[in-house]
């Protein structure tokens, strides 16, 4: 396939993914909007007003970047894992496997589709947050780069999960037992400086901490970790997971007999 044909194949996958999640918007776009609004009301307004400042900002302002990032992470991951696994389940993945689309284009197409949903949710949640607080942007390039890379990383993660999953239960295990705890313990609701030294060190092993703090730095200008270390970590994870995903695709793991 020449470059033009590869681009057509790539855009076909991406547009198909975007059509899919917009067609079922009530399942894909609405729930995170509702959940995050509740977070803003309960944690930000009701409880936050009693907590006072954190990291030099009022509590609502402090948690907004984390909540935006949390919704981006969850949606990017969920889009790819559910879409690709349902293709496996319905066997419509065979449409792709018999075609000449190279594996890297398949991966890129699904990851971009996941990012499209993740970033759409990010925009929706950001707009909602404006009803509760005034968002200032400390470093726009940092905000954009961090959110794009984080979304890409979790979309790749969702793709690997979909390849390895053999039943619907396997699709929800990672989000429930890995992603959610890591996100909640990744400094969305608190600064790790509040933790005892030992737990601060443990927290540093949580990759989501770097993403949340990188994004928070872009918005508020404060971070528990060096924001450039955050970017480096995200990039390293993207490279490593993409390598794993391409290896699994080449072996036909979960998709070829």
């Amino acid at each position: 396939m020449n470059a033009q044909a590869l681009f057509t194949a790539y855009t076909t996958i991406v547009l198909r993914e975007i059509r899919r999640f917009t067609r079922i918007w009530a399942q894909t776009l609405l729930p995170p909007a509702v959940t995050m609004t509740l977070y803003f009301i309960i944690f930000g307004n009701l409880i936050g007003s009693r907590i006072g400042e954190m990291g030099g900002f009022d509590y609502m302002s402090f948690i907004v970047p984390g909540l935006i990032m949390m919704s981006v992470i969850t949606s990017s991951y969920a889009n790819v894992v559910s879409s690709f696994f349902s293709m496996k389940f319905q066997r419509s993945v065979e449409e792709l496997l018999v075609s000449p689309v190279p594996n890297w284009v398949i991966l890129a197409g699904y990851v971009t589709g996941g990012m499209a949903r993740g970033l759409s949710i990010g925009v929706i949640v950001t707009m909602l947050s404006l009803a509760f607080t005034r968002l200032q942007i400390h470093n726009l390039p940092m905000v954009v780069v961090t959110v794009f890379l984080t979304s890409a990383l979790f979309a790749v993660g969702g793709f690997i999960n979909a390849l390895l999953a053999t039943k619907f239960d396997d699709v929800s295990i990672v989000p429930t037992f890995v992603l959610t705890p890591l996100t909640y313990l990744g400094g969305v609701f608190y600064s790790i400086n509040l933790l005892p030294e030992f737990w601060q060190s443990v927290s540093m092993a949580n990759p989501i901490l770097y993403m949340v703090n990188g994004f928070r730095f872009g918005i508020l200008g404060v971070s528990d970790v060096n924001p450039f270390v955050s970017l480096g970590m995200i990039l390293a994870f993207i490279v490593a997971l993409s390598f794993v995903a391409l290896k699994l695709l080449a072996r036909g793991k979960g998709i070829r007999h």
Partner: protein
């Protein structure tokens, strides 16, 4: 001339240890209408699955129009269109989208894909259903949708795995006419089917696979010439109650008083009619008891069974 498909020493052992293919060699000429026949579990779908890269091979070579799937997989796939045995499209997508998306995977831009999709959806009687979600289609329509999808990139080799399974007679015949037209226009077609009447009607070459080995690979004409005995059912002008004496022929009455006559290769049916006429019995209609290819197929597979069992026991 390059063959449409060349398979050499193809083997497949699944993770469970089951040896589905035990060294298959097969050649399909360009423009041929080829049937791959075999009982359930013989290795038909595994063979075609490897050609379409849905199944990974254990060993052997596969070339599609000279493109080796190990070294030129993308080129090989561009020449291939696949109609699988089971429905494998997204049930929630619309008919038109399913076909144009498939074209997109082959690098065909939407504008061009839309023209090709319309052409095949019209030919297969699905144009009126283009905006219908696939799940709303009948079984026959879903089968035709898979054919339109497989053809949208104009492949030179079309592979159909039991394309008319569960399709009514009328629709089956219209699908046969469509496939014959595609073949006349130059598309090489390989099909597997359990309807041996279908293979006899459509195909020029036939391979029979059993227990992972090709036990016969020849032209249909040559294969049918091997048929040494055919059984005819003769309807007399009255219900027969006793078996007439027919010199040189074995005959018997079935449950409804219809005469069954075995005719060996080289014998003439005219002899049967003359002898019956002499006994005052007139034949008003006749038909073969079983499809000719079916008889041969059953005989070959039964003949191969002891060897396959002995091999499995080793």
């Amino acid at each position: 001339m390059t063959n449409a498909l060349e398979i050499e020493g193809l083997t497949k052992t699944y993770g469970s240890g089951f040896e589905a293919l035990k060294g298959i060699d097969l050649k399909v000429a360009q423009g041929d209408f080829f049937a791959l026949l075999g009982p359930n579990g013989a290795g038909k779908s595994t063979t075609l699955g490897i050609v379409c890269s849905l199944v990974t091979k254990t060993a052997g070579k596969v070339k599609v129009f000279g493109c080796d799937i190990d070294t030129h997989l993308s080129d090989a796939k561009l020449n291939l269109g696949v109609v699988p045995q089971e429905f494998n499209f997204n049930q929630f997508e619309k008919v038109f989208d399913i076909v144009t998306i498939q074209a997109g995977y082959y690098g065909i831009p939407l504008k061009k894909a839309a023209v090709s999709a319309e052409k095949y959806l019209r030919k297969l009687g699905l144009w009126d259903k283009r905006d219908t979600p696939a799940r709303m289609l009948s079984g026959g329509m879903k089968r035709r949708l898979m054919i339109a999808r497989a053809l949208v990139h104009e492949p030179k080799l079309l592979i159909l795995d039991e394309p008319t399974a569960g399709v009514d007679i009328e629709l089956r015949r219209s699908m046969w006419a469509f496939l014959e037209e595609m073949n006349r226009q130059g598309t090489t077609i390989i099909l597997t089917t359990h309807y041996l009447e279908e293979a006899e009607e459509l195909c020029r070459s036939i391979a029979i696979i059993d227990h992972g080995r090709i036990i016969r690979n020849t032209s249909k004409r040559e294969l049918l010439q091997q048929l040494s005995l055919e059984t005819f059912l003769l309807d007399a002008d009255r219900v027969l109650t006793t078996v007439p004496e027919l010199d040189g022929f074995s005959c018997r009455l079935d449950d409804e008083g219809v005469l069954e006559v075995d005719v060996l290769k080289g014998q003439s049916l005219n002899d049967v009619f003359m002898q019956l006429e002499q006994q005052g019995i007139r034949v008003v209609s006749m038909r073969t008891k079983a499809n000719r290819l079916e008889e041969l197929f059953i005989r070959m597979v039964e003949h191969n069974a002891p060897a396959a069992k002995a091999e499995a026991d080793e």
